[in-house]
């Protein structure tokens, strides 16, 4: 008999994808160039697809997305951070897609509940990381202005990266190896982009591992208010 899916793990991975997809969706109509309208929407759609599979492993996707309160969400604080300028969005993409690629690659090679999803998603996420890498290079090694913006963005989001390596119960991968591989990959991309590896701590004192325990940052509540308002305004309705 197959053991039941680890619901908490499905929520953690699913919420990451759901929340980042939402943030990327906010770019629609605001991207710096038409090709990026297509690319950002594409990444958002991949993530939303992943979120729907994962949330459905934990329950009803819409109930979980629309009817949970902020404290019940298990996503990383990194993915809920506001878009900021394009450099901030790219830094968030670089950090998260590198993490997700390493995570899904390991899950795909195993035989756990997440293996079938991970096998498909790892290909999508490889594209997400490539997109983030290309833009990190362009911005870091582009003009003085873009270099400075990308440097600031990579530093501003650095303190949200430590949380990614807090083991998720029910996700059996090599978490220690994960941190080293992530640092290696991100460090190499930043170096090629002529950007310094940020120096500060990768997590604040009280926030370490907080998103996974339902402690979020202030902008997240507003994001959920917007995302959930229509659904909640019509209790029980079908859409």
């Amino acid at each position: 008999m197959t053991p039941t899916v680890n619901t908490a793990a499905a929520l953690a991975l699913g919420d990451d994808a759901l929340v980042l997809s939402h943030r990327l969706g906010e770019w629609a109509g605001h991207a710096p160039v038409l090709e990026e309208e297509v690319a950002l929407a594409n990444i958002a759609l991949d993530l939303l697809g992943q979120a729907r599979v994962l949330l459905s492993m934990a329950g009803d996707e819409d109930e979980l997305a629309y009817l949970r309160e902020e404290r019940a969400f298990r996503n990383l604080q990194l993915v809920e951070q506001p878009n900021g300028d394009f450099a901030h969005t790219i830094a968030r993409q670089l950090y998260f897609s590198t993490y997700q690629r390493l995570l899904y690659a390991q899950l795909a090679s195993g035989d756990g509940d997440f293996a079938p999803l991970a096998a498909k998603a790892v290909k999508e996420v490889a594209y997400h990381q490539d997109h983030a890498e290309q833009w990190t290079l362009r911005l870091g090694d582009g003009t003085d202005v873009s270099h400075e913006r990308m440097r600031q963005a990579s530093e501003a989001l650095w303190r949200f990266t430590g949380e990614m390596f807090q083991p998720i119960e029910g996700v059996d991968i090599d978490w220690d190896g994960m941190r080293a591989a992530w640092l290696d990959s991100v460090g190499s991309i930043l170096r090629r982009a002529t950007l310094p590896l940020p120096e500060g701590p990768q997590s604040g004192a009280w926030t370490a591992g907080a998103g996974r325990q339902g402690l979020h940052t202030e902008p997240f509540g507003r994001m959920l208010a917007e995302m959930q308002h229509l659904h909640r305004s019509h209790p029980g309705a079908s859409w």
């Binding site: 629609a28 003009t143 229509l230 029980g236 859409w239």
Partner: protein, 354 residues
């Protein structure tokens, strides 16, 4: 199938008259014959200047409509009431960006680049479809746009798949396939609302009430007031008159509205047995001209957002261009000094250009 170049050569008489005017007349005769024979005009074929400028104007306006049209729908992406609807809406808005890309490329084959066209949009020298100057006030507006606005667009655009200009016609084939999916999702969205709670039904009816008349205006002014129509019909850029297409659209929508359980807000709408078509009420053309002049509910908002996205993205586009230049320099440098270490080369160039 002949290439564009061969096509060009085949159409121009090799022993044509040397005299410039006579030569132009000969080219024109070949062009006219090709249009008359329903052949496609390709980018490298000779074409009258006015044909080229009419096409650039029309394709640009269409491209601009796609990218401005993203705004009213993107307005609901963050509030879509289910994850399924959110995925459909994001995919639709993404398709519109893609349509913008094909269409700007089609215009480019006529010698006018995307930057120039965007500049004309941003400075108000070129227009986009006035329909997007109306606001999306409720979720049902997403459905009404799909059903009515995309439905009207398809009615307008299907004949463009047979347009005399090849690249535009081919772009339209792909666009129409995707628009047809958009129209169906809009219809289905409204159907669910119409059959849902009383509040949802009311939301759907309200949206249809607001979008019906502006959708009829999408076909342009009545035939006797349409300034570009006659020449465009002769060139087979346009295949049917504004009024013909509008009538076709009304006839398609009436039974669909019945299936939806929604009413169209026109007391004069009724079947005319004699004509075999529906009669419908008078369109408020004063409103149409006002919105076209810039006095619609969202003209200012739409163009301001477009300009802001463009201006705020300038540093990103500049960075991409600078990076591409550096890479080109490095490649050149690396080819010249194959024995040097590539990282060292890159650093030197980076510093030199900083």
């Amino acid at each position: 199938m002949a290439t564009a170049a061969a096509h060009h050569t085949a159409r121009v008489p090799a022993d044509g008259p040397a005299d410039e005017a006579a030569r132009t007349a000969a080219y024109e005769a070949v062009f006219d014959a090709a249009v008359a024979a329903d052949e496609r005009i390709e980018p490298r074929d000779w074409m009258p200047d006015a044909y080229r400028s009419t096409l650039v104007r029309q394709i640009a306006q269409h491209a601009h409509s796609e990218i401005i049209g993203m705004q009213p729908e993107a307005n609901w992406i963050t509030r879509a009431p289910s994850l399924r609807r959110k995925a459909i809406l994001m995919a639709k808005v993404q398709d519109e960006a893609g349509h913008g890309l094909y269409l700007y490329s089609a215009a480019e084959t006529l010698g006018t680049g995307r930057d120039e066209l965007l500049d004309k949009l941003h400075t108000g020298r070129q227009k986009y479809s006035s329909i997007f100057n109306y606001p999306t006030l409720t979720w049902a507006d997403v459905g009404a746009i799909g059903w009515l606005v995309d439905g009207a667009a398809i009615t307008n655009q299907v004949p463009l798949c047979r347009c005399s200009y090849g690249p535009y016609a081919r772009a339209m084939v792909r666009i129409c396939k995707e628009e047809s999916f958009h129209q169906r999702q809009g219809y289905e969205l409204l159907l669910v609302l119409s059959r849902g709670t009383p509040e949802q039904h009311e939301m759907a009816q309200d949206a249809v009430n607001r979008w019906w008349w502006p959708s009829l205006m999408m076909f342009g002014p009545p035939d006797d007031e349409s300034s570009h129509s006659a020449q465009s019909m002769a060139w087979k850029i346009k295949r049917h008159s504004n009024d013909e297409l509008r009538q076709r659209f009304v006839d398609i929508c009436v039974p669909q509205a019945e299936s939806l359980g929604l009413t169209l807000p026109d007391p004069d709408l009724m079947w005319n047995e004699e004509r075999g078509q529906h009669d419908f009420g008078a369109i408020d053309w004063a409103e149409f001209w006002e919105v076209l002049k810039g006095n619609g509910p969202c003209n200012e908002q739409r163009i301001t957002q477009r300009r802001r996205a463009h201006d705020e993205g300038a540093w990103v586009r500049e960075a991409a261009a600078a990076y591409a230049d550096k890479r080109a320099d490095r490649t050149e440098h690396a080819v010249g000094h194959a024995d040097e270490h590539s990282d060292g080369t890159a650093d030197e160039n980076g510093k030199a250009r900083a």
